[in-house]
Amino acid sequence: MATALFFAFAALALVFGILVAALRHPLYAALSLVGVIGCLSVLFYLLGAPFLAMVQLIVYAGATLVLILFVIMLLGLRSEPRAPEAHPVQKGLGLLLCLNMLLFFLLGAGTLVRKTVPMTGGGARSGVEDLGRLLFSRYLLPFEAVSLLLLAAAVGAFLLARREWK
């Protein structure tokens, strides 16, 4: 049951992912991204990480994507004009890179399949305790470094926006 759900939502995530790139209207593309995030959240839950599943929804769907959509709506973007035709060399290089990525992921998935983790559904434990313990012991330094980086980014964004109306 859990396995069938996992593959169904994985396939749905792929469909939404393709739509993000394929749809010309920026609003539709952003909404497809919300779909991808929703599917990923379900996958996290099925893999026994409900905390990650919820945080995925709170941070990405509830905040980041809302801001992106907000900007799209403020600018009143309706439809993206057709991009100019790419140079044949660009097309060839792009195709090569895509094939390379595909190969990379196929090989990566091949090694992952051998270390499959049983799907627990995560009913009893939310994983918050384990995650908290790890973040405040083994990964304390990277965790603090990341928060410092975010603070720097916030200050930088504030400065960039402020310069306009000094």
Binding site: L31, I58, G62, V66, L74, A124
Partner: protein
Amino acid sequence: MSPLLLALAVTLVKIAVVLGAVMTAVAMMALIERRFAGLIQDRPGPNRVGPFGLLQPVADGLKFLFKEEVIPDEADKWIYLLAPLLAFVPAMAFFAVIPMGTPFTVFGIVVEPLIAPSSFGVLYILALSGLSVYGVFLAGYASGSKYPLLGGLRATAQMVAYEIPMAMALLAVVYAARSLDFTVIADAQAGTWFGVVPKWFVLPQIIGFFVFWVAILAECKRLPFDLPEAEAELVVGFHTEYSAMKFAMFFMGEYAHMIAASAIVTLLYFGGWHLPFAVPGGNLGALIAFAAFAAKTAFFLWLFIWIRWTLPRYRYDQLIRLGWTVLTPLAFLNLLITLFTCRAPGVN
């Protein structure tokens, strides 16, 4: 019957019962709101249909069903049709993790009055609260008209801004109860101080409760924060172009959101189903617990209505300033006080 099938059947019955109860409550709220408005404004309110106007929601529902479905020419058709669903479904989904009392026994089966027991209910509520922006936002965008667009923009900025103080106030409760599970949070408030004062979180976290309540008024887009639908400026804001059942979806979503919010306030700050005195065990105790929970929830629903018909509307810049410069610092202050007054987790 195998245990798995039995569990499935019990869950399906619970979902049916909870959905039915919430939809009935939504219909009743629509009537109570108007009757109460009448009371405050010294007029009768709707009292023609049935005794005390009790059948008014039925009449309204029938009217919504038989009205013509209008889709504006300028509308973005698919998103226009999707938006009412996105407003309604998250509001109903709140009830999956809201426990409504203590376990009781039916036909020898112990039933917990909760659809999905989960160790991360608080996070689930936050996630749904974040997702409930989409219905309003997309309705504003897809209508292809300027008033809904302005209403949608206002609603989005308001809901994103007030989510921060709301989450910070929640964090203090989670710290005090040391759990993200609503049942554990409610049980952490059992018992009394000095034998009379209930150990509800509202007493040590009075600031947190104030912040949370104001943030919830803004999240539910209720007066004094109903700027997204300020009728003097925006007709009715994001749902101006919606009619018939699609309008009813927004309407029901708003009331379901209010009911869920009242239940959550009860669970977080007013002890859920706990009373400051001992109650008997067994099914009678479960019944008393449910009655206590329902009464507390009903009180907050009434408070919603009372505030709506008492206070005037804020101006939009005042609303945003209140959120960022008053409520957010207050929520942090509450969190600091809680951190210093509660024992650290694991030091029992």
